[in-house]
Structure formats: structure tokens, C-alpha cells
Point group: C2
Chain length 358, copies 2
């Protein structure tokens, strides 16, 4: 079924809106400048909601300045203490992630819901396989069914207060459990879902697990907002999220790089060239496709669906546009010329999009 919408400040998600990309800071929230710097660098890469840990009162207080300066809505991550959620919401958080089952009973839930209502904020009901509702755990064991039923029960606890601006997350470290739980909840409720695999591991394992889970679910029309959890910088989480959404055909934002796995035919340091090009044009927001290929013979043809690209070779390289070779250039001038042309293509894409909108 189509989910209902939820509002995170002025951001609307669910109900068929574009899938929203989230991440979470790993700074000490009380360190306002470090936290803000990380929020801003993630927002520049496309993060649309950023969550911060609020383990104590000082962190909730720091939110005042953080939320005021943040270019995107900030959500407070709170465990056990309803008062920290209330304080965060008063200080500008546009959402709080809570576990209604462990926050201290109906009165506490009501106090958080009231604060969220006043703030125009969302509440995320977060259920993890590691923190299941005791009744559901006893009834269903450590299973996806127990996760979905826990989420439904805890959503019910909030709805009883009359507050309904909600989203839920059902996270497990197992991909198969995550997928099964999300499907079950999707059958049971129209509350929008935040998708993610928790404790996913290092870069390779984390991206792989998240991409399989999100790929399968998004392909089935499940998922309104996503986070790719990685043990690493949150900026990587944002890049990975867009790579997954792009792969799933859900959102096209920024440069899609096409580059060949280097093989025995490759005569240049392709990874270094790719990194240089990425450094130059990763700030482009328009959805363009740029190829960086190792081989002047096969590269242009193999990357014919790229908007433009370069293919390296001994001493010189080739610039190509839509598979057609445009000119040869000395190796040292290749990346700069690609950047110039990519910005042109991005500008045309932007103008085209603006024209369509008018």
C-alpha cells in the first residue's frame, strides 16, 4: 500500500514522495562546531536529514545552536529518557528517534508527542532486533515477525496520544531479517518506513548489505527514507545512499561515474585518474554520467551511454561525448578539460530541467 506522509519540519516524506536520504553524525554532539561542520559536509553531498546522538542534557542544549545553523532538519537520537527528547524538540530538533516501549510509560510518551507537535517535528519509532518488545519477543522469538509486531504496538502507544506524524524503522544486522520485517510491517501499516541495516560493518560489507536490502525493498516499492549505516565517516553513508538509490532507479542526483575495472590491457593509473576527476566534479548536483576509462580502444564504445568521458592511454588520452571521440589530449590536460565540459553539461541539464518546470 502507499504510505501516508510524514513531515520533518518543511520536508515531506512518504506518500510516494522521493526517497529521503539520511545520515547520522559521529561527533560528540556537545562539540557544536565539529557537529555542525559534519552536518554541513553531509548536506553538501545531499543528506536531507541528519540525526545526532543526544545522550545527555548538555547534548540537548547544544542542539539549540546546531539546529539553528543546520541547512537540513536535525533529528535527536534518544534512548530511555523522555526528557531529553522533549528538551531536544524545544531546542529546534525537527524529529526525535525514540523507542516508546522503554521511555517510561504513557505520560512520558504523551510529553514527547506534545513537544513534537509544537515543534512541527516527526517522531521515529525505532525497533531493533536487539531491543524487541518483551511481549512480542516471548510470543514470536527473535524474528522479523516480532520486529513488525513490536513496531506496530509501539506506534499504537504514540497514536493513542493523538499524535500521528510518525515514521518507523525496523533494523536488524541480518539483511534477510531486515527485508522480511520491512515487508511484514508494510503489509500491516501505512506509516512511512525508514530503511537501514544496522551494524553493517566496514565499507565493503556495509555497502553490500545495505544495497542488497534496500535494493530488494525499493524494487518492491517499500521505503520512504534510508540510511546506509557504515563504521566510517557519515559522508560515505550519503554517497552510498545515493549510489544505491540511483542503482535502484529511485533518485538521480549528482555525477554517476562509470569506470572500468582495470585489466591487463590498462596502461595508466586509472584509480588515481578517477580519484582526481571525482575530486574535481563530485560537487555537481545534476544527474550526469561521466566515464573514466582505462583504454582508448574500447573505452569510448563501452561507455557510450555516458554523457561524456575520458579514456587513458600511453602518454595521451581521448575525450569523448556520447561514445564519439572528440579529441586527443596530453594526459596532464585530460582531467581539467573533462571538468570544464562536465560543468557545461551540468549547466545545460539544469537549464533544461528549469525550462521543463516552467
Amino acid at each position: 500500500m502507499t504510505t501516508r506522509v510524514a513531515r520533518v519540519g518543511s520536508l515531506v516524506l512518504g506518500g510516494g514522495n522521493p526517497v529521503v536520504v539520511q545520515t547520522m553524525t559521529n561527533t560528540d554532539t556537545r562539540d557544536v562546531s565539529a557537529t555542525l561542520a559534519q552536518i554541513k559536509s553531509c548536506a553538501a553531498l545531499g543528506a536531507e536529514i541528519v540525526r545526532v546522538a543526544v545522550p545527555d542534557r548538555a547534548a540537548a542544549l547544544a542542539l539549540k545552536e546546531i539546529a539553528a545553523e543546520s541547512p537540513v532538519p536535525v533529528v535527536a537520537d534518544v534512548h530511555f529518557q523522555a526528557s531529553l527528547a522533549v528538551e531536544s524538540l524545544k531546542n529546534g530538533a525537527k524529529g526525535a528517534r525514540i523507542n516508546p516501549g522503554n521511555i517510561g510509560g504513557p505520560e512520558k510518551i504523551r510529553s514527547v508527542a506534545e513537544a513534537a507537535g509544537k515543534a512541527g517535528a516527526v517522531l521515529r519509532v525505532g525497533v531493533n532486533m536487539g531491543s524487541l518488545d518483551k511481549e512480542m519477543l516471548a510470543k514470536y522469538g527473535r524474528t522479523p515477525r516480532a520486529m513488525a509486531e513490536s513496531a506496530l504496538k509501539e506506534v499504537g502507544l504514540v497514536l493513542e496520544t493523538g499524535f500521528s506524524n510518525l515514521k518507523v524503522s525496523l533494523k536488524a544486522s541480518s539483511v534477510q531479517d531486515t527485508v522480511a520485517a520491512a515487508r511484514l510491517f508494510h503489509e500491516l501499516s501505512d506509516i512511512p518506513q525508514h530503511l537501514g541495516v544496522t551494524e553493517a560493518g566496514d565499507l565493503i560489507a556495509g555497502v553490500a548489505k545495505s544495497a542488497v536490502a534496500l535494493g530488494v525493498l525499493l524494487n518492491e516499492g517499500i521505503g520512504d527514507t534510508v540510511r546506509v549505516s557504515l563504521t566510517g565517516p557519515p559522508e560515505d553513508e550519503v554517497l552510498a545512499a545515493y549510489a544505491i538509490l540511483r542503482a535502484a532507479g529511485k533518485r538521480m542526483r549528482g555525477v554517476e561515474f562509470i569506470s572500468c575495472p582495470t585489466c591487463g590491457r590498462c596502461e595508466i593509473d586509472l584509480l588515481a585518474l578517477l580519484k582526481e576527476v571525482e575530486g574535481r566534479i563530485s560537487d555537481i548536483k545534476e544527474p550526469i554520467k561521466v566515464a573514466v576509462m582505462g583504454c582508448r580502444v574500447n573505452g569510448p564504445g563501452e561507455a557510450a551511454d555516458a554523457d561524456l568521458g575520458i579514456a587513458g592511454g600511453k602518454n595521451k588520452g581521448t575525450l569523448f561525448v556520447k561514445g564519439k571521440k572528440i579529441k586527443d589530449l596530453p594526459y596532464s590536460a585530460l582531467a581539467a578539460e573533462l571538468e570544464r565540459r562536465a560543468r557545461e553539461v551540468a549547466r545545460e541539464t539544469r537549464l533544461e530541467a528549469e525550462k521543463t518546470r516552467e
Copy 2:
């Protein structure tokens, strides 16, 4: 439909056998010792077939020593020149990847098929979106349909020779095209499929694209062998392939690491600790689940489905088994104790598996 089997030397794939993991060297194939070193390090991580580029006769000759010393079947990657495929197969390659449409006509195809037959080798018919059959390109455009029909036509060219030990690959740099082409071919033919997204990009984009494509296809029962193409070391391709297969519930091999995204509550350098643990136990082949968590309070519970794990904290850490805290240890002794216990668990897992097999 269930695919038929194909034989790569003594390795059997297709027909419901476990999905086989491949990679490709990026060394100069003529450099025998560098190529062999890379093959061995990939094989140690679980690569079961390794492809090498054969761009000239010297590379085909080098295969003699490479194939003899390689712990896994070696496949020659050949473009245009049938004679290089024949030479490679004579020199010990257990497979050749060719594009029958551009290798020089029926006689050339017959010569390659004969050499493959004598060698007990497989032929991979490789179709890329960038190298479509001209007739199919004219008829269907640059579409997944054109890829599937090209593959079917080129498979037919080989089958006409009487040789049928085949697999196919249909690769595009677009995930959606890759998925659509694989589905179409799967409806048309029972030839086993090698899955991969070509020119997938850097680590994050490459793993994300491959995982979405393979996740969706494997979930539908499509795919007999896989490669994760990355612009980077082939060892990463192998690690990523297993991470994807594990996430898709297809193959469990080696350590699955569970680790939390560091948040504002984390008091240790979790990424460094994770890397140390990975360095110590990544060689373990048995499918065990090891958690490396940042927080002694929530870590053990959140990672309760891990076989064992450690959770860091200021100065000391905690060792836990199946969610239960076993003991506290000074931070410096944590990784070593985890390694010792992980090897014990791996050993028990191995003995258990051997017992079941008897």
C-alpha cells in the same frame, strides 16, 4: 527455469549448484609472478575462478605457467582473435571469454570450441551493452532486449559447432539494464548466467551498483556465477562478492563482521579496532559472525546474534558470547582474546560441519 550445468575444469556451476565467485587480475598477464601472486591472494579470499586478460601471444604463452601453478581455474579474456583463445586453452586455461560475433566467422568459432572441448574448458559468451550484435542493435536499439537477443544469437553460433559447455554474461553499466537483460535471457534460455555490472565505478558506487543488481537477481533465483567489477584491487572484488552473496542468503563463507556505525556515544576508535580484528581473522573460512561494537552498554545486546564479539569503552572493553558478557579486559588485550576465541568457534563450526557430512 533451472539452468543447465557448465564445467570449468573440475568446477561445476549452474543447475542449482552454489553461486561461484569470480574475479579478474589487473596485472600484466605476461608478468607471470605478479599475476600468480594476485591469483593466489584472491583464491585465499575465496575466488573460485580467476580471469586474466590475453591481449597478445606472449600473454597466451604465459598462461602455461600461470595455469599450472594457479590453485583455481584460470579463464582467458580474449577480444577479436580466435587464435589467442585457442592458444590459451592449449596452455591450460579452463575457459575463454569470447564474443562469438566478432571473432572471425564460423570456422574460427569452431576452432575455439574444439580447443575448449579438448581442454575440458568452458566458453563464456560475453555480451556488453557497448558491443551488441549489429542486427539486434538495429532491431531493438541499445536495450536490454537487444542484449538478451544478441546473447541468444551468439550462443547459437557456438551450439551449431556441437559444443555446449557454455555460460553467458550480459553486462551493462546501468543496473536497471543489467537486471532487465538477465531476466529476459533467463526466460529465453537455460544456459547458466554469469552476473556483473560493468564499469561500476569506485568502491562505494561499484559495490552499491553490483549489490543492488545481484541482490535483486539472486533473490529471483537468477545467477550461477558472479563478479563484482571494481576500479581497484581484485581482492576487494572477492570480499564484496561474498558480502553480497551472504546478504542475499546464498553463500555463507568466512567471517561476517557486525559493527556499529560510530555515534556520539562512542568512546573508542572503533574503525581502528575493527581493522585490527579484520587483519587478525579475515583468513577464517568458516561462516561465523563476529561483532566489534563501540559501546559496552548497548553493544552486547544489540549484537546478540553474533557468535561472539567485543565492545569497547573507556580504558577497558568487554568480551561477549551470544549477547552474554563473559569478561572485561584491558583495551590492549581485547583483539587478541577475540582472535583466540574466534578460532575456537571456527574450529568447532568446522568439526560440526564435518560430522554432519559423515
